[in-house]
């Protein structure tokens, strides 16, 4: 039995002389939600395209559910589902007609269409032409299409991008449902809160390399900064100061201030994944209080 859902080893991609993916390695465990983050142009989509066999790798090894890419691609295609970062539905067809087409391509029985339509809450919209659907409904239709053949590994490329909060919440709930059902989810997103909420583990990519990988908690511990915002009264005037709790000198400074002043309010904040992201991708987070001080 294969140990990993996805196993990538020293994967490279060159366009001409430009190396857009520089020997990355990572593994995704079965049944986990794996976040793949990075700024635009980091090489995420190129990596995904190599993993799903859409483009060939320049070097390295890829395995999906123990099957080698691209040698065993036909088999892999049956076990994976993909929601791309663009909405590639047949606009003139209805939702159901779209699903019927892909059900036929995937050798899926028509009754599966009704099941996935219910799962993504699209049953009442199935007769509408895709061009008449909102962005959120279209995104759900794409997810339904990807789930038709019950994939074991499901790739979601920025699934909540530009969606309203209700639609985004629904899609996040769907991801959690998939996780509960044992599906491995490979998720890319620009929303750090979303990644923090959904992902068991996260890899952050920057300029073609993976710069951090681990659980959100570990990454936050490793790269994040907990902070405290302190409001005090000094000379009858309120003042606000912000301190990094993880920085010993700032911690001491805060303690001194708390001892010598009238405290109006203290607000502590845990490290955020966004700070981790900014830190590891080179644009280090700077607390507002640095300027204030």
């Amino acid at each position: 039995m294969e140990p990993f859902a996805i196993n990538v080893c020293e994967l490279k991609k060159l366009y001409g002389t430009q190396e857009v993916v520089k020997s990355i390695s990572f593994a995704v465990n079965k049944g986990e939600v794996f976040g793949f983050l990075g700024p635009n142009g980091a090489g995420k989509t190129t990596s995904i395209r190599m993993i799903i066999g859409e483009i060939p790798a320049s070097a390295g090894k890829i395995e999906v559910l123990g099957r080698a890419v691209p040698a065993e691609l036909p088999e892999i295609k049956k076990l994976t589902g993909i929601v791309p970062d663009y909405q590639n539905l047949y606009d003139r067809l209805t939702v159901r007609q779209n699903l019927e087409f892909f059900a036929a391509l995937n050798n899926v029985t028509p009754d599966q269409i009704d099941i996935v339509l219910e799962e993504v809450f699209l049953a009442e919209h199935q007769g509408k032409a895709c061009k008449d659907l909102s962005r959120g409904l279209r995104q759900r239709a794409l997810i339904a299409r990807g789930l038709l053949h019950r994939p074991e590994v499901f790739f979601l490329d920025e699934p909540t991008s530009a969606l309203d909060p209700h639609s985004a919440k629904l899609i996040r709930e769907l991801v959690l449902k998939l996780k509960c059902a044992g599906t491995t989810v490979f998720l890319t997103t620009h929303y750090m809160e979303e990644a923090d909420m959904l992902c068991d583990r996260i890899a952050i990519m920057n300029r073609g390399t993976i710069v951090a990988c681990g659980s959100p908690e570990n990454l936050k511990k490793q790269f994040g900064r907990r902070s405290a915002r302190v409001e005090i009264l000094r000379d009858n005037k309120p003042e606000t100061h912000e301190f990094s709790i993880d920085d010993p000198s700032q911690k001491a400074e805060m303690a001194s201030m708390l001892n010598s002043s009238t405290i109006l309010r203290i607000h502590t904040q845990e490290a955020k994944l966004e700070e981790v992201f900014m830190h590891v991708t080179g644009d280090e987070w700077k607390p507002e209080s640095e300027d204030a001080r």
Binding site: K77, I82, P84, N88, L89, L105
Partner: protein
């Protein structure tokens, strides 16, 4: 009105246009076609407008001198008997024939009971026959110095016995052209447009993430286009009642023509990255495919280039199958040439896709 903005857009489009081969093709195509039909390159316009005539008459007939004079410049081929002349008309060696009694040399030598016969191919439209009659009548009047109203002899226009046996009307004569048009529209435009649209919208990626192979995809697309082309042709023929006696040849040529244009469309889809490119390339090919055989007889230049266009043979085959008596004219050569070209285009399409696959 923001004139500077409009000017800036115009300038940008101009600069972009001279670097855009779509625009260049769109501009050059009608120019090249206009050159083909203008006769600038070779013969005079009047000579081209005067099609070759087959005649049964004496070489001493004074009318001949007038017809072949510098002003009219018609090419005349003499025939011994009517059967030979009719066969030449059916084969397209001469455009029409004239049987001119020798005794019509002066207005005093004819007899009322005699007649001049104009023979025309069965696919010639009515307006063409009327024009032919009136032009020839005018020539005779001029030759014999005859005044209106009535001619002192009978001027008859007769269709060469074809499949229908009768002269056809305008819409009949346009039918082969319309079938060629349907083939070109589907093969050169609709099919590559559909493939490129899939590529542009990204639905092609979604399709190839399923277990379907590129070959299956191309086959599916081609079959639909084939169905579309054949449906169009069958509906056209059926609702107009134009099947005739040689419907099996009609269908065979249509099938081969559809396959040829579809294979060409697949090659277009391989090279064109956008629907705009398909429009430019497909329309260019379509115009040549459509216009060259339809207007082959309008200029010497067009007549010379026509044999290099596959549509010429499709058009000729369709015309023969629809209008001519196939016991008197051969359709096999046209079918063989269309078959050979179809196979060549298939091989070209196959190689293009093989090379693309190898390139990946």
């Amino acid at each position: 009105m923001n004139i500077p903005a409009i000017r800036a857009i115009f300038r940008k489009d101009l600069l972009d246009g001279v670097r855009n081969y779509h625009v260049i093709l769109m501009v050059l195509t009608p120019i090249i076609l206009s050159l083909l039909f203008s006769n600038m390159v070779s013969d005079s316009k009047s000579a081209a407008a005067m099609p070759e005539i087959g005649m049964i008459t004496s070489p001493q007939q004074p009318m001949i001198e007038r017809l072949t004079s510098k002003g009219l410049g018609k090419k005349i081929t003499f025939f011994q008997n009517r059967d030979q002349l009719e066969t030449a008309i059916l084969q397209g060696d001469v455009r029409f024939g004239i049987i001119l009694p020798e005794l019509i040399t002066t207005k005093t030598t004819f007899k009322k009971s005699q007649s001049v016969v104009i023979l025309y191919p069965p696919h010639m439209p009515e307006f063409g026959i009327d024009t032919l009659k009136s032009v020839f009548e005018a020539e005779i009047r001029h030759q014999l110095n005859l005044e209106p109203p009535a001619l002192p002899f009978e001027l008859k226009a007769e269709a060469v016995a074809g499949a229908t046996g009768n002269a056809t009307n305008v819409s009949d004569s346009m039918f082969p052209m319309l079938i060629v048009m349907a083939l070109g529209m589907v093969g050169f435009l609709a099919l590559p447009m559909a493939i490129v649209e899939e590529r542009e919208k990204g639905t092609l990626n979604a399709i190839f993430l399923t277990s379907i192979t590129p070959g299956e995809f191309i086959l599916g697309k081609s079959l639909f286009s084939f169905f579309l082309a054949m449906l169009t042709i069958i509906v056209m023929l059926t609702i107009n009642g134009k099947w005739g006696n040689n419907y099996h040849y009609l269908l065979l040529i249509s099938v081969l023509g559809a396959m040829m244009t579809i294979f060409t469309g697949l090659i277009i889809a391989n090279f064109a990255q956008t629907q705009g490119s398909v429009n430019a390339i497909g329309t260019t090919l379509f115009l040549f495919f459509q216009m060259i055989p339809s207007l082959e007889h309008t200029s010497e230049m067009a007549r010379r280039v026509a044999p290099f266009f596959p549509s010429t043979y499709i058009f000729a085959g369709l015309r023969k199958a629809m209008f001519l008596d196939l016991t008197r004219v051969s359709i096999r050569d046209d079918i063989n040439i269309v078959l050979a070209i179809t196979m060549t285009v298939y091989l070209a399409a196959w190689m293009v896709y093989k090379l693309k696959k190898a390139d990946k």
